[in-house]
């Protein structure tokens, strides 16, 4: 089992599975409602030209979120 890293640390183009997710906090419920749940596979598509936010692909669509949120989300990179 690969080590858990932060979603914000994932390299562009790499896929990972969400492992841990903050229970509460502004915006995290919405991220869950957008389908970002433990067990969901996400791909980091790109980082914005100025370094933030990041763009991820999950469940067949594209979503942006800031690194400040992404660093609270733990992921396990796919081998």
């Amino acid at each position: 089992m690969a080590a858990e890293i932060r979603l914000s640390e994932l390299a562009a183009g790499k896929a990972a599975v969400i492992r841990s997710f903050p229970k509460s906090g502004s915006g995290f419920l919405r991220l869950r409602e957008m389908g970002l749940l433990p067990g969901t596979t996400v791909t980091l598509v790109r980082v914005a030209p100025l370094g933030d936010p990041i763009e991820i692909k999950l469940r067949g669509y594209l979503l942006t979120l800031r690194k400040s949120e992404a660093e609270h989300i733990g992921v396990e990179p796919a081998p």
């Binding site: 509460s24 419920l29 919405r30 409602e33 389908g35 030209p49 100025l50 936010p53 763009e55």
Partner: protein, 701 residues
Amino acid sequence: MKSESTAPVFAIVGNPNCGKSTLFNALTGLKQKVGNYPGVTVEKKQGTAYSQHGLPLTVIDLPGAYSLAARSPDEAVTRDVLLGRRADTPTPDRIICLVDATNLERNLYLVHQVMDLGRPVILALNMMDLVEASGMTIRIGRLQTALGIPVIPCEAVNGKGLIELKLAMSRTDLPLPRHAWDVPGAIAAAVAELQASLALNDGKSPLSARAEALLLLTDQDSIRVAGSTPLSARTAEILATWKKRWEAEGMDWAGTLVNSRYEAIGRLAAEVVQPGAASGPTVSDRIDSVVTHPLWGWLVLGVVMTLIFVSIFTLAEYPMDWIGNGVSALAGWVKGALAPGDLRDLLTDGAIQGVGTIVTFLPQILILFFFIGLLENTGYMARAAFIMDRMMSRVGLNGRSFIPLLSSYACAIPGIMATRTIEDPKDRLTTILVAPLMSCSARLPVYLLMIAAMMPGNLVPLATKVGLMLFMYAIGTFGAFGFAWLFKRTLLKGAPPLMIMELPPYRLPGLKDVAMHMVQRAGLFLKRAGTVILGISIILWFLSTYPKSPATATQTQQVEHSFAGRAGHAIEPLIKPIGFDWRIGIGLISSFAAREVFVSSTAVVFSVENFDATNDHADIAPLRVALRHARWPDGRALFTPLVCLTLMIYYVFAMQCMSTIAVVRRETNSWRWPIFQTLYMTGAAWIFSFIIYQVGTAIGF
């Protein structure tokens, strides 16, 4: 009227970007009413469609939402209408859930919540052409059986599936969705207790009580909007007790609920969706790799925005001239048709002239609305927000504020109306407050006049003039960002804004939808701002007309003698420290209507004969000469280069636009914010002018 009230009410519900407006337009044609939900600035769209048997059906196009646990005023309205919490809107009898079939799982989340409402639901799968193109297949029959409701594949853009949808809408025996979903055990007891209390104490019907109970558990900050009723004390108490208990146990109740919905959706999707063979990057992916590229991205943004501005300024010129001429002709006609007198002057010089000033800007406003609609419709808007977010976050805003602010370079009105896409109310308000600082096109005539007065004709290279102009734009931009930073740190302090935003696939714009959107927004602006603009125009006319001078007086003498003239004198002590005399004061007061009025009123005050104020291309040379000869009583020149510069700075910051005030009043739903905005902008204008003028004088300019 009777058929209207007994017609079944359908609501169209769906995620943003799923094609709701297109479907709504296709269903209702031009038979639609666009307005606002009272108390909030959320667009209300209601229309009439006809059943297979020609019976009228009322259709409400609800604002796009990802979830009924609202995070924005838009979503709060959708939630409240569906739950029958709004007195101003009929509770929908039947619900059409429109989903983007290419992205079924996430779209079904909202559908899953809606199916809890206990009302008949029709599921319309939009964008089936894209599903096919991607090689994906959706087993419609299985989906229909699993959910127990009609499922209709369609392509709203070209009307495919519309007949089938209308057929389903015409059915009188629409089934209720099958509840193939059990509330997770850990929270079932709480849901049951809340449901009972909601039915007993809040007067909810048993089925909607269940939906309400489920919603209470995820509605964290529960955005309450005007027009919705609060919870009863008993229900609120039960909710608080459960939350306390779960917190103590470390239970993640909201997460449990969302997870269990997605699990149910996941099982369903696995059964009905057959993914296509993974092909290479899609067209959208390829466009994105250019549009969000660290180098090309900026280039594309620059080119897109330049194109928009060039077309606003070139395309708008002709209709603006026509409207200007039309207004003059109308005023002339009224002058000829009515007997001379105050009433005639009130109509021509007050109402027609005043409203005409604003209407002249309508072509610009329309074109800007068109482009904003186009950017939204194609999906580019979200990309611009994505690449600009980092920069906007420096001042505490997010990328969504970028387009509204940029649009304000042409005109603050469409910019301010475009802030509706900003979810966070505080971010939105901040954007509204600073948008008029971006130098709009109405400031151009003032800048041009001052630059002309400052730098005599051919002695100064063109580059200096252009440089000075750009400098004004830069100051306005820095001002806007500076004040945004200030407001986000003080007055409108809040949690750091999030940037949770979907990047929808690129689509070819539906020109019909964009055009309709443009006309509707412009109509809203005229309707809403009209009365305020008319009122202020008449007041300004009154101030410059009364008390009357003898008939022999020249126009200049009349103005001096009027209330406006006296007000100019009265404010002279206030504006003398920034180098302005009472005559400039009159210009400031009269250009409160709109900034470019400064040019024509200055022409009157400095007695320039035959100055055609209605013509944008009027030769300003005689006015320039008059200004150069204007003197203080002690013989000093009035329009020194320093005063010209100060006046330009003043116009960068001062709130001199009644249309903006009217629109801000409508968009914020109170007079508080437009008044605050006027005070802070004009206050800042005075302070900066004071610094420039005093420092300039001290160092010998």
